[in-house]
Structures are given as structure tokens and as C-alpha cells.
Symmetry: C2
Amino acid sequence: MQNDGLKKVAVIMAGGGGTRFWPVSRMTTPKQLAKLTGNDVMINETVKHYAGVINREDTFIVTNRMQADLMDKVLFDEIDRSHILVEPVQRNTAPCIIYAAMTMKKLYGDALMAVLPADHHISDIREYERVLNLAFKTADEMNKIVTIGIWPTFPSTGYGYIRFSTNPIEAGSEVYHLRRFVEKPKLEVAKEYVNSGKYLWNSGMFIWKASVILDCFKQYLPEMYEKVNSIYDKLGTAEEQAAIEEIYPTLEKISIDYGIMEKASDVFCIPAEFGWNDVGSWDALENVFDRDDSGNVVIGNDGQGIIDCKNSVVFDNSGDKFIATIGLENIVVVQTKDAILVSSKDRVQDVKLMVEKLKTIGREDLL
Amino acid sequence: MQNDGLKKVAVIMAGGGGTRFWPVSRMTTPKQLAKLTGNDVMINETVKHYAGVINREDTFIVTNRMQADLMDKVLFDEIDRSHILVEPVQRNTAPCIIYAAMTMKKLYGDALMAVLPADHHISDIREYERVLNLAFKTADEMNKIVTIGIWPTFPSTGYGYIRFSTNPIEAGSEVYHLRRFVEKPKLEVAKEYVNSGKYLWNSGMFIWKASVILDCFKQYLPEMYEKVNSIYDKLGTAEEQAAIEEIYPTLEKISIDYGIMEKASDVFCIPAEFGWNDVGSWDALENVFDRDDSGNVVIGNDGQGIIDCKNSVVFDNSGDKFIATIGLENIVVVQTKDAILVSSKDRVQDVKLMVEKLKTIGREDLL
């Protein structure tokens, strides 16, 4: 790691609630605080991913009140409590990012920021480091917003896409101009996207200088900029939290994609491939973990209770009851300390229906 | 109930081990001691079935050492400990029956015995009482062995069959001559049986006078008869158990069907239909319990965790973990205090493979 030039920081957006991994993810332990894909909770796995590029202590987390304390407990010790920025209410990603960027300006004058999701899986760490370094270099030298797009491997209808200009910004470069963001498409459209070679999955990873993104806010979301700038002096002081609590509820609820990126001219995009998976639902574990000879993924359990199952997932988060499965195909079985989920694999998205149902039947203890 | 004539007793054969309902049935709590089909353990449900015909206190149980104490604990108080006959080793059904019959002779001189399996389900109790009364009357008046056959409702390959003579023993009677017993047939053969109208399922229920069956033993299994008769004086005394332990291991291992019934001339058979089910495996619960509109059977659980499941079974024997099921079809989910079974419905017979596996991996705690 170089020590010359601007400081490189990671800003991890970790405010999500998320019920897609119920019963493992809960209101109090959302996905980023659950152990799903590694030995550690997902947010620490996220910190490990960029270890070769960003110092661990230069990690910032933006989260909500409910998760802040638990986050502080589970996060690596090197990450100071003051690096956990607490949103009093959720206002989508634009407020979250200006809060972080303004904090970087206050602390460091300027910094190279990598804004990263808290709960994605990356299997090819070396390649991820290489792409992240390229993104930092590009953001640093060219004063641009840089996004990382993922080469799609199938016509997903669960991801947003990025349409990029297929000519690089200069001959031989891996960096391209971004044309536009596209919402989750229908299957037919997704197929066209993938076949065209002109669309990438939106990884939600953005790299820029704090000064560059703040200029964008000033230009495209001036009201939000003014409000946050008005408490600039209080950032990093004992008065920060009170000031944030006052202005935050008045900030516009808008995503960084729509609030800034779609309006900004000349956003850059790096197409990449580093074994990325957003681990969006139980069936995604198949793409993160090795399967056995029958296509099963078995986690937290020695798998000795499995007889003649195929393409199924057994996720044992408590281990107290022996899990015996016989003749299953495309079934997900999850055990936690207080719940058992058995779902057909093509219906795992509907754990959100289960969570809704739990609310209506008064089983908040399971949320 | 009449008090004139011979005493009517029930002899329940309850020595079976049985792993077909693992994880609910265990070595220490086999099927007859498990709560599967009713509010009480199956053996007490069996006692309830004949409440209108046989006094509860005139119940005798033949079981093994391992189950005797637990049986005594769970059985209705009216059934005296002395009515639990303990087989030191299992020698199939003929020794079991002569032991019981000889005991009836010793206690009552003679008695009308209904030999009944411990773990079958009967839904039409009124009709069952009617058939049982008819069987007792026939056995009493005609000094015959009477069996109860069940009109088959589908070509089962899991039941033994009875071929009966389709002419009643006298005009207008519901009683027929039995021609022969047939082992579990292959599907094609079972279909022929069912279509022919000449075959019944063997319910394993036999009704006779103790004196009549003892005469049969004297004639067809004379060695066995002599051995048991040699300890006749000790039956019902403090010396009984020691005497039984001495002779029992020397008795021939043979079923009552082959040892006696196939040889005896003029065995009677009553074709019946009283919602009988032998509850042979998890999928049988579908035929015992009401299904919901989607064909699901949900036991021990309010079913609030079920979303869009069809023709599935949820059996909750512990209730401590919430069971959530989504989009399942033809799946059996069972929870006990220490195990979770998830099986495809057409593979539930293979819980026996699971039980074997548990032995090989040293999980005797789950057996």
C-alpha cells in the first residue's frame, strides 16, 4: 500500500434490514451481521476483501441506530467507534453518501472513497484488489466517478444493470464511459442485455474523491448539499450526532444512482469479473459455496443426515437438532435456535412473505 | 356390555420396535408408545377403540422387557401391572399368543380373546364395535377362529391379504370361510386381488376362545404347547417370570398365521370396513387425519408457518422451534426435541436407512 497521495478509505453502507435470509437474518441481526458466507459475519468478510488495498482502520460504516452498537461489538477492533456513522432515519443512499463524503472532507481535507455494500461475496480477491486499485487510480488521476460493473453470467432479473459505452475511455484501457443505469429487467429483456455484451450488473460499488462527489452534490442536489454543509463544523465533534439528527429527517429520500449518477456527465465504469455475488437469497449460497457430488450445499453441519438429496441446501445455524433429509430435490432447509425453514428453492424469495406473516400473527419474537 | 357368559379380554401385541416413525418413534418409545394419531399414545388409543365392547381392565399387553416399564407408566391406570406379559425374547406371534391364551385359561378357566395390534388407527368406532361384537359372538357360539379382514381401498403392496370364500357360512351372514393368507404382493398382483373382490387386507385382528386356540396349538404346534403347558402352574404366580425366561428362548420362532391359521380347518373371516389404517409410515398420516384445502396434514402445530404447500405433512412433536414451510409439495417435515426430518413423501420408508446410518455414525442418542 502506498502512503503518498490521498488517503484511501472504504465507506460501507450497512443500514439494510433485510429479511431475505430469515430465519438467520433478523431485525437485530440483519444479513451483514450474520455469518452466511464465511467464518465471520458478512461485514467483516467485506472488510477482509479489500485488505490488500485499504487499511482496515480506514474503514467507515454508515448504519442505523438499531445496528450501531451490535456493529461496534462485532467489527474488527481496528475500526474505531467514531468511524461508525449513525443515520437517525433511513433516507436512501444519497444522504448516506454525502454524510460520509463530508466527514472525509472534515477529517482528511479530501480522500479517495470506495463506497461498498456490506454484504456481498467475492471469491477472487486478487482480481478484486486489482480492479479496486485501478478504480482508485482512475478516480484519483481523472477526477471522475468510477463504478464497478460485473460481467453478467446469466440473465438475472434480480439485479440492476449498467449500460456502458463499449469503447474504452482511451485505447487499451479497461475503463469505459457509463451510459445509464437500468432497473431490474424482465427475463426477456435481461436475456437481450446479456447477449448484447453492452450491459453489466450494477455491483453498487462506487469509487471517487470526496471532493468530486461533493461537487456533484452541490450541482445536482444543492439543497441536500447546503443542509449537510451547514453542520460541517460539527462533524467529528461531540455535537455531530445532535446536528445530524436535526437535519437528516429533512433530507430528500433519493438514491445516489438517480440523484447524482444519472445526471452527472462522464461517469466511468470498469467491467470486472471477480466471483461477485450479492448473496440475495438462500439459493445464492449455491454460487458461493462448493457443492457436493449431488449438487448439495451443506453449511454448519457435517452433512451426515443427508440421504439421496440433490441440488438442495442445508444451512445449520444452531446445530442442536440433528437434521435428517431424505430424497429431497431443490429444497432449502435452515435451522436456527428458534426456527426451522423448509422451502422449495424456487420460492426462497418468499421468506419475506413469511416475515410479514409472523408480524400479523404476533410472532415478533421470530423477527 | 353383558356380564353373562365368558369374559371378553383384549390381548394387545405390543412388542414391536419399529423405526418407521423416526424421529418420533425411538428404541425406547416405539410407535405404540408414541403419540401419532390421537391425543394419547397409540396403545391407549387402541384401548379406547374397544371401550364399548371390552372392559378397559380386561386388557392384557404382551411386550418385551425394554418397553414393559414405560408401558406400565403410560397405560391407563385400570390396566393392572400383572396384565403386562413380558416376553424375555421375541419369538414371533405364535409363542406370544399361546402365552396369553394359557394365561387366560389359568386366570379365568376360559375367555373370549380379541388379539389386536397395538398401533393401528380406526376412525369408525361404532362400526368397529359392531364387527368386534359379531366376531365375539361367532367365536363364542361356533368355537371357531375368527379373523377380521379389511375391504381393500387401493392395491396396497404393503399389506398382507386374506383370500376368503365368497359364500357366507350361512345365508345372510356376514361371516365367511377363510381360504388362505397371502404375503405382501407385487403391485400387479395386488391390483388383481382388489379387482377380484375375493381378497381382504389382513388386519392382524383375531378373535377366539382361549380353549379353542389352545386346542389348535395342541394339534398344530404340540411341542410349543407342551413347553408352555409345563409351566402352567406357575402362571400368575411369583415364579411366572423365571419360568417364562427359561422356556421362551426354546420356543419355535413362528407366526400364528403360518403356525396355526394356515393349518387349521375352518377359520372364519369377517370382511369389514371401519376406517382402518395400520399407520405404517409417515405418509399414512394423510389417511388418518383431515387434510386442509391444499391436501396438507398438520399435526401438533397451528400451521401458521405454512405458505403455499401442497399434499405435505408437518408433524411437530416438540413445538420449540417455529416450523416455516414455503412452496413444498409432497414433503414430510417432522420436528422432535432433538431431530428434524425432512423427507420426500415417496421416500419416507427410508427413515430406516437413516436409523441404520445413525448407528454407523455413532449417534445412538438419536435412536
